[in-house]
């Protein structure tokens, strides 16, 4: 069954899918990797983004990508508010991350139920002109349904990368995860910085949600499927690194795609997470950790 053609297609499909995975995981890299906030509710906000995208597409005919970007400020505000609650309830008291984890589990349930009550439980998906079409380069087919999310994710990754490394606030966010004291000496309020960073993390879920509903049908409980995947990517990527997250996501996408093509899709999650387990056991700082 092996052929170069299949291999090339599998790799391309994996890379494209991996791009989408990166969009899912980027926000978690900031929240979990850089801020140490175990936001297990991250995927449910992606679903929320998906439903907003759906409504905007149905009512206003807006393109998913446009909606995703337009939603970002709104999600940013949610993130800031959520972090404020989290900070005053847990972090300020110096409580361990465990309580925060339970807190976000609760948030996960609450948001999921609110989504069910607002949007119902039927599967939703959007259909745009480019979904279902693909371009062919040699023997390799590239469906727009995956290409568009990949490109959007790549742009978002690049944007975050430059924002974090080139702007003052961005650098402050990176600093807060490394050296709080130095940051205070620089004259920045760590809590304010963290609030902005968490807002940013949630803003990425708006885009990820828009991409998700292009790729697959969405209903409120789909989010749970992405919990493991998102955390796995962040860890593989070395926790704090934006570029590491992107590469790890691509890698996961390619591994899943290759296993699905040549071994049998049934084993894809075991291979992907077995890979994570081995990485953790051999190189706990992740593939791209320092």
């Amino acid at each position: 069954m092996f052929s170069i053609d299949l291999l090339a297609n599998a790799v391309v499909a994996g890379v494209l899918l991996g791009g989408f995975y990166a969009a899912v995981a980027l926000g978690l890299t900031i929240a979990f990797g850089q801020l140490d906030v175990v936001n297990i509710a991250h995927p449910i906000f992606i679903i929320f983004g998906s439903f907003c995208t759906y409504v905007a597409h149905e009512r206003l005919g807006l393109d998913p990508v446009v909606t995703g970007v337009l939603l970002m400020p709104f999600f940013f505000v949610i993130g800031v508010a959520l972090y404020s609650v989290y900070y005053s309830s847990f972090e300020r008291r110096g409580d361990d991350a465990l309580r925060g984890l339970a807190f976000f589990f609760g948030i996960l349930f609450i948001v999921e139920v609110l989504l069910i009550m607002t949007f119902g439980v039927d599967y939703r998906l959007v259909e745009t002109a480019y979904i279902g079409e693909s371009i062919h380069l040699g023997g390799v087919g590239i469906p727009f349904r995956l290409l568009v999310p990949f490109l959007v994710a790549a742009v978002m990754t690049a944007g975050l990368y430059f924002y974090l490394s080139r702007t003052f606030i961005g650098r402050a966010i990176l600093a807060v995860s490394q050296d709080r004291l130095a940051l205070q000496l620089m004259g920045a309020d760590p809590v304010r910085i963290k609030r902005i960073a968490f807002g940013l993390a949630l803003a990425t879920t708006a885009v990820a949600g828009a991409l998700l509903i292009m790729i697959q049908p969405v209903e409120p409980s789909v989010g749970r499927l992405y919990i493991g995947r998102a955390f796995a990517i962040v860890v593989l990527g070395g926790m704090t690194s934006i570029s590491g997250t992107f590469v790890a996501a691509l890698l996961l996408g390619v591994v899943e795609s290759l296993v699905a093509t040549f071994i049998g899709p049934s084993w894809a999650p075991a291979v992907a997470f077995g890979f994570l387990l081995i990485t953790l056991a051999v190189r706990p700082a992740g593939l791209f950790g320092r």
Binding site: F32, G106, L108, A232, W267, P269, F273, L280
Partner: protein
Amino acid sequence: MRGIWFWIALVAIFVAGNVLTLTIENTFLFYAGYTVLQFVVLATAWNILGGFTGYVNFGSAAFFAVGAYTSIALQKWLGLPLPLLIVAGGVVAGLIGLGVGFLTLRLRGVFFAIATLALAVVLETVVTNWEYVGGAKGTYVIPPDGMLYFDEFIEGLFAVMLLLALFAVGVAKAINDSRFGRGLAAIRDDEVAAEATGVPTLRLKLISTTVSGALMGIAGAPYPLYVTYVDPVSAFNLTYAVNAIAMPLIGGTTVWFGPVIGALLLGVMQQWLTVVQLFEGAGQELNLLVVGVMLVGFVILAPQGIVGLIRRLFGRRKA
């Protein structure tokens, strides 16, 4: 001397539970009670590692499912009776716990938690593809009509789970009060310091993960008989992992009775909400909402759990 009363109380509760099965007609109580007690075991087991030792296990559902599937496999293969299935479920899950224990050599904090999550996915995939125990199709386990001196099977199953819950609580209490328990607490508070002062951290951690895993497996072993039909999706359900963490947190993680209180409170609440229409005319999804709100409310308002809350009130009154 106070210790002896604890063990007498355990025996008394078990006897009382058995008397209840003979006197109470209403079998719903035993179905609901079984589930609540199952969570007492899970929460107590989780807490031995999570609360006492400070290593968060995200994959409780996997240990529970390993217990359940061990019992399915052995019942099918050798036709073993329930007590042996429970022991076997505990042994296999305990061995996996031991394996996880070696992970703690290198992984701490969230990394360990993520590793247990990954382990759960790997185990679920293996079971999904294991045709002998039904694979993704699931498998049927048809319970007998009665058990021992009980009229109805569920009464017997309830008594079994009660015994397991008391056993788990007994183990937790014994660890809590022992030198071993103090060693675990030292690891939780500062692992490097504990190592430096001569605490055999690796050995303690290995025992802790093994005992915790084994107790979770024990909780899962009778599950197939309870639910009749088991498939990987329901056996590895996220609910088990979430409850195993949430219950000790709500109750309090530093002492053995914290998870018991949490499991009783949240477990009874969940059973009650399942069969009650809270708000006339409104959808029942509100029930799930209540659980979520409770979880958030408790961790914010009672940071040390109910035990901590009581301690605070008690302390204030004294002062």
